[in-house]
């Protein structure tokens, strides 16, 4: 069935899904991995290993002892070499554990399929597995699956849109493991008592729709009843996979600014996240490997690769076939929202789903020219903002004007920058604007507090 709602805006970048027919390849034999102690949105984990310790695949390395944090497990077997601080790809200092491989791939003997008897068990199991949202957001899944009791979801939305150019990791996930995905969906529906699931697939991936329909038919055959899972095709447009856009196109519900999907009783999960739930229930090995797309004109053999978390980007590129020309730009994530790296010795984290290695033909940085008010940014903004106005306010460093233009509602999708004929760095300047507004809000709050306290102390303070 097709979806009826369509959000305004969006852009049509070239799909460049060059790797969608290539089966994923497991990469092994990395000499070492570097595990960051913060791979999720939330406080970092506490490192529980020290140099010299032996670890197996699945051994706990970072303990999650604060709310919102998720444990981190070793992705290879070997010896801990170093616990030190490194600069992450986002530029923040974080603690990291360097593990040298013994090339044995021995799995921790304590990893076995979990037994789940209650909802609490389920949530604990999700947390222990180290799972975060694998679509890129890295939000702790156990928090998402444990909403406040007055806000239980009535619909589970499975994000199989994968609207970023180049990336085909979810696509391959679906082609290769549809059964695990459906298992994951059924588990989530069962424990959260969600009556209905909608899988959203862009209409440029008809195979995905067929695979899911076939898989669902198999279930009917096996269990005698059709699970309440529906596959719907969506228009191919970026950012169709953005949570708010996806919810609107599939259910007609709009998530208000500053609110979460759960506020409109919807749960959105990525296919890879669900597949991991299905797999973990069967095998009990925590999240230690990640499927990612490697693409870009500088690579010899683009494709999808399953790599241990923490593997260094340079090692992954080498193991995946190396480069055929000197890379000019390396992007962690997709072409629309990914981060361009200045070093490539970072260890990958759980939420990474692509590395793009651009050669000279894709690496262009056209100079900015003045805004001609063509309104393409306005027409392309899925959040119905006025990007050129925010850009102006941000460059004028005017927090009041930024607020007037609702700068905080921007989802940083990059559509406006993509569309701008003057090649202005709108998304970047909007991000700067958000920082200014946050600072201004904090300052106003502080002032307010100061005034309140001074009024309390001396009621007759001279005004």
């Amino acid at each position: 069935m097709r979806s009826l709602h369509a959000f305004a805006g969006g852009v049509h970048p070239l799909g460049n899904k060059n790797t969608d027919v290539l089966p994923s390849i497991h990469l092994h034999g990395f000499p070492e991995v570097e595990l960051l102690m913060q791979q999720h949105i939330g406080p970092p984990c506490t490192c529980v290993v020290k140099p010299g310790d032996h670890v197996d695949v699945g051994t706990l390395v970072g303990r999650a002892d604060k709310p919102m944090s998720v444990p981190i497990h070793s992705s290879i077997s070997g010896t801990v070499k170093e616990v030190h601080y490194v600069v992450s790809a986002n530029g923040a200092p974080v603690e990291a554990v360097r593990i040298e491989s013994d090339f044995k791939h021995s799995i921790n003997p304590f990893c076995r399929p979990p037994k789940i008897e209650s909802f609490e068990d389920f949530i604990q199991m999700i947390r222990d597995s180290g799972l975060v949202g694998l679509g890129g957001a890295a939000f702790p899944t156990y928090i998402k699956l444990n909403p406040p009791k007055n806000k239980m979801p009535d619909t589970l939305i499975v994000n199989a849109a994968e609207c970023e150019p180049y990336i085909t990791a979810d696509y391959r996930q679906i082609c290769e493991h549809p059964d695990d995905i459906i298992d994951g969906i059924i588990e989530v529906m069962k424990w959260l008592e969600i009556p209905k699931t909608i899988i959203g697939v862009e209409d440029n991936k008809p195979l995905v729709t067929r695979i899911f329909s076939h898989e669902l038919k198999k279930r009917v055959f096996k269990t005698g009843r059709h699970p309440d899972i529906e596959v719907r095709t969506l228009k191919t447009i970026y950012p169709q996979g953005a949570e708010k856009m996806l919810i609107y196109t599939l259910t007609g519900r709009k998530v208000p600014p500053g609110k979460l999907p759960i506020d409109v009783h919807t749960l959105v999960m990525n296919v890879s996240t669900l597949r991991f739930i299905g797999l973990y229930l069967k095998e009990g090995v925590p999240l230690t490997r990640k499927r990612m797309t490697l693409d870009g004109s500088a690579l010899n053999t683009p494709g999808n690769f399953i790599v241990p978390i923490g593997a260094r980007i340079q090692d992954i590129i080498a193991a995946a076939g190396g480069t055929r020309e000197e890379p000019k730009k390396i992007i962690m994530g997709g072409a629309m929202m990914g981060v361009a790296l200045d070093r490539i010795d970072h260890g990958i984290i759980k939420a990474n789903n692509a590395i793009l290695v651009f050669g000279s033909e894709e690496t262009t940085l056209p100079p900015e020219s003045p805004c001609i008010r063509c309104a393409r940014c306005v027409a392309s903004c899925p959040m119905d903002l006025i990007p050129c106005g925010i850009d102006k306010a941000s460059r004028l460093r005017d927090p009041a004007m930024l607020e007037k233009y609702h700068v905080m509602d921007c989802i940083e999708c990059g559509c406006c920058t993509y569309a701008c004929p003057s090649k202005r760095f709108l998304t970047q300047s909007i991000k700067n604007g958000k920082v200014m507004v946050r600072a201004e809000r904090a300052r106003a709050k502080q002032e307010e507090a100061l005034r309140a306290s001074s009024e309390q102390k001396g009621g007759s303070a001279p005004s």
């Binding site: 959000f7 852009v11 970048p13 070239l14 150019p165 708010k244 609107y248 709009k254 998530v255 208000p256 600014p257 000197e326 890379p327 000019k328 730009k329 390396i330 992007i331 994530g333 072409a335 629309m336 929202m337 990914g338 981060v339 361009a340 200045d342 070093r343 490539i344 651009f358 894709e362 262009t364 940085l365 056209p366 020219s369 003045p370 805004c371 001609i372 008010r373 063509c374 309104a375 393409r376 306005v378 027409a379 899925p382 959040m383 119905d384 006025i386 050129c388 106005g389 233009y405 609702h406 509602d409 920058t417 993509y418 569309a419 701008c420 004929p421 003057s422 090649k423 998304t427 991000k431």
Partner: protein, 337 residues
């Protein structure tokens, strides 16, 4: 290994400022050629002079102000071409240069160059010329003499169709449509203008909101309040076919004469001086339509297009403020929070 670091997104659309300007020039070509065909070789020279002087003034200005050179973005060429489209063929050459100077130096560069002018340079220059040289700007010729005539003074003067409405000499609708009439170089051939407009729409350079609202509003007003209008038929009532023909004849006549189509498609849609949102664009077009109607029917000028557009240009920042929508998902109850 030296890696380029830049903010996302890392892919960009192909369109650039100069590719858009190039498309506008291409879209104006049919009307330009039609103008040359009807008005002869002098029109060719007026057009080229206007374009060359606009580019020249842009170059000199940027040099003097020690700013980067912007003639390659082609916006000065577009201004020059649009200005020529709005001039009568008989205009003395020095006036063309004065107009170009006013458009580029005063209206565009003194306000900061491309993107910062608050009125359309070509329209402002045309209005400036109309006020400064009213006679030269309102003497029209029909193409009667030799195609190669370069003289400006001995051309046969003629009234524009707008001043002839209802009279015996009024040209036929077909002549109005294909451009066989007196008027400015670029405004006569409606057919060519429509072809250009279609090209702009197909290439996504403009969107239909402004031209549609402009022309739509104007036509509705003419039908309701024109000389022969829906409320009052000259032949009594609307039971005869003739009465309906008269009604639509006037509407079509008004549409095809003067600079309405040129203005609606090429001048009112100027990015810099028109609103950003769809709502704003509709409002802008509506305003232009109302003003053009009022000036044509109740003002003492025959032509109201340039004045209407320039007035709405001035209102554009306010329209942008009024029509700024709510972000996606914003609902009434949490609009305040």
């Amino acid at each position: 290994m030296k890696l380029q670091v830049s903010h996302s997104p890392h892919v960009r659309d192909k369109a650039t400022t100069s590719s858009i300007m190039r498309d506008v020039i291409i879209a104006l070509l049919p009307a330009t050629f039609a103008g040359w065909y009807y008005f002869g070789v002098r029109a060719v020279f007026v057009t080229l002079l206007s374009i060359v002087s606009c580019i020249g003034f842009e170059y000199i200005c940027r040099k003097i102000m020690k700013r980067n050179n912007t003639i390659t973005d082609l916006s000065a060429a577009v201004t020059g071409l649009l200005l020529a489209m709005n001039l009568p063929v008989t205009i003395p050459f020095y006036m063309v240069i004065i107009g170009a100077c006013f458009a580029i130096v005063v209206v565009k560069q003194m306000f900061g160059g491309i993107g910062n002018n608050f009125v359309n340079p070509a329209i402002a220059a045309r209005i400036f010329l109309v006020i400064a040289f009213p006679k030269a700007m309102t003497s029209w010729t029909l193409h009667t003499g030799s195609w190669f005539s370069m003289k400006s003074v001995d051309a046969v003067s003629s009234a524009t169709p707008l001043t002839m409405v209802g009279t015996k000499e009024a040209p036929s609708l077909w002549d109005l449509f294909i451009g066989n009439k007196a008027g400015c170089i670029g405004e006569v051939c409606i057919l060519a203008l429509l072809i250009g407009g279609l090209y702009l729409l197909i290439r996504h350079v403009i969107r239909p909101w402004i031209p549609a609202a402009y022309i739509g509003t104007f036509l509705i007003l003419v039908l309701l309040f024109g000389h022969t209008n829906l409320l009052h038929a000259p032949s009594g009532d609307y039971t005869t076919l003739q009465a309906w023909t008269d009604l639509f004849y006037e509407a079509c006549y008004m549409l095809c004469s003067g600079g309405l189509v040129l203005g609606a498609i090429f001048m009112a849609t100027d990015y810099v001086t028109s609103p950003l949102t769809v709502k704003g664009k509709l409002l802008f077009g509506f305003g232009c339509g109302v003003l053009t109607f009022l000036i044509r029917y109740y003002g003492n000028m025959a032509e109201g297009v340039s004045f209407s557009i320039i007035l709405m240009n001035i209102l554009t920042p306010h329209i942008d403020d009024w029509t700024m929508g709510k972000p996606f998902g914003e609902v009434k109850e949490n609009a305040k929070a």
